[in-house]
Amino acid sequence: MKEIFKLAIRNLLRYKRRTLMTSLLIIMGVVLVIVFSGVSLSFKNMMIGSLTDSMLGHLQVHKKGYVSSIDNLPLHLNLNEKEIQQLNNILEKNNDVIEAYSYRIKFGAMLSNFKETTNIRLTAVHPQMENATCPRLVERINGNLSTPDNFIEQGKIILPENLATGLKIKAGDEVVLVANNKDGSVNGLSLVVADLIESLLGPSGRDGFIHINDAKILLRIQGNEINEVAIRLKNPDNLNGVNKILAGELSKLINKQDKPVFELHTWADLSPFSTIAAIVDLLIITVKIVLIAIVLISILNVMMMSVYERVSEIGTISAIGTLPSKILWLFMAEGFSLGIISTIVGNIIGVLTLLLINIANIHFSFGRMKNILLETSIAPSDLISVSLIVIFIAGISSLRPALKASRMQPVEALRHV
């Protein structure tokens, strides 16, 4: 085999310019895939990270039926004390894969600055649990947060920046929240504005934060009640696996009607951004298809030319006793060599390009999150998969010319001028 590859390399070097041009084309294709995958995957992962680390968590648990009516922020679908305990047991049991979780009460309310009133969507949290689950939430809060674990205190409220600006509210001002509890009675609570928060997804954001104990006072909740649990995983890449495990365990908990008590959703189920993430994946696949086409056509072309130019030579080696299978391998080895060498060079240039992008310190914005550093990276498994694709396609594309060469009749090949 070593000798076959030695001969293949020599034959490739025989037509230096042609080999170089073909190789350059394949190298460009490999670099394109690596750089595009590295940048777009990093971009996608950062976007997903921004959503999961500052808002959604990786997974969310609600009472069955809550998500289908989530726009109404219903309070009659709260989890009660017993259900919270059951859920807590499952989450603690899986603490090897779950890093943190946060209990939330989401509800709608009217916000008044004593002059004007507007509606607001509030998330009531335990600050320490929320910060552990969504550690980048505090990055969106204006002002100095010396203790992120206590980013919202009782008696205070964090308001969305645009809404506060519109109502001319600033930190330190007093506001009143008015909300219906699940029985329909209206209650009010006076709070002090602690800070303003940037909306993640743009100007229409109306999400504020209060302490969970204030929500209980406002909504007159006795005991322990929540309507959302956000979960942060130790390894986000393991999302599907953990989702499956938790879904299995949660499905065992059924109510009196023999229906599941809980519903579990991944961040992708809850965010329209998952579609954009899927489009990014589709684009990467498209670029890979382009690479396959480049490799297929260029190697097929160069190998066909090679066979037609060396008909007499094929006749010679066949006449002196080279088996058709070895002639096949001689030509296949040329295609493989071209693919392997181009892939190695393409990988090196591609990875170096990604390193250069990182060195260039490129920043971008996502929604209201500014100055996000583009940290490109590509997994070794992606490099291996790109390399295997190129080498496999190189083999496939050289198969036809190689078969043609191996099936040549020596008498006709030797007659060829």
Partner: protein
Amino acid sequence: MSLVELKQVTKEYQMGELSVQALKNIDLGIEKQSFVSFVGPSGSGKTTMLNLIGCIDKPSSGEVFVNDTTVNDFSNKQAAQFRGQHLGFIFQNFNLLPVLTAYENVEYPLIMVQNIPAKRRRERIMHYLEAVGMADQKDKYPSQLSGGQKQRVAVARALVLDPKLVLADEPTANLDHASALKVIELMRSMQKDFKTTFIFSTHDPKIVKEAEIIFTLEDGEIVDKQNSPSQDHEKTV
């Protein structure tokens, strides 16, 4: 039995709607360790004859025996195996692989045909390169060698697998007279030294003289078989 035997061999080529008989009912036998030449004008059937004996082509009818084996029904693979085991080839255009040095060209059949280990290869290659007087040129590529030198390397390549029979189609056609004579002398000495049978075709009368047995072909038929000048001469039609 003769090393090579042809019985009622005919070879027809289809050229469009025309059927051309390149060989017509040929009967012949060639003994081991002989130095045989086919002569005749272009189109007389010399190359076809060598191709049939060399298992490169198949007869339209009749039987071809080489080394006690019927070779006419070989598959491509069987023919290649047989050629690699029993036959050596020398071509008019030398047909050395341009990307390999003289040494590597001689090495090629040892690797690709008989898969002989590296240690044994070197010894054998140098033996044959020395025998053809090309040991000092072993690292040169074909493009750096003269026509005569290339054909010497081709002779070494043909002999390196110790074939029973070497077939040479117009081996001197692309050489000047002096080089041509040297190549024929080399082939003759190789035939004696290695006890190999050589069959070559030529239309050069000065070269023909070197053969022990000369078959003259005309229009696909053997019209004359002549032993070397010291031997008998018989006319066949």
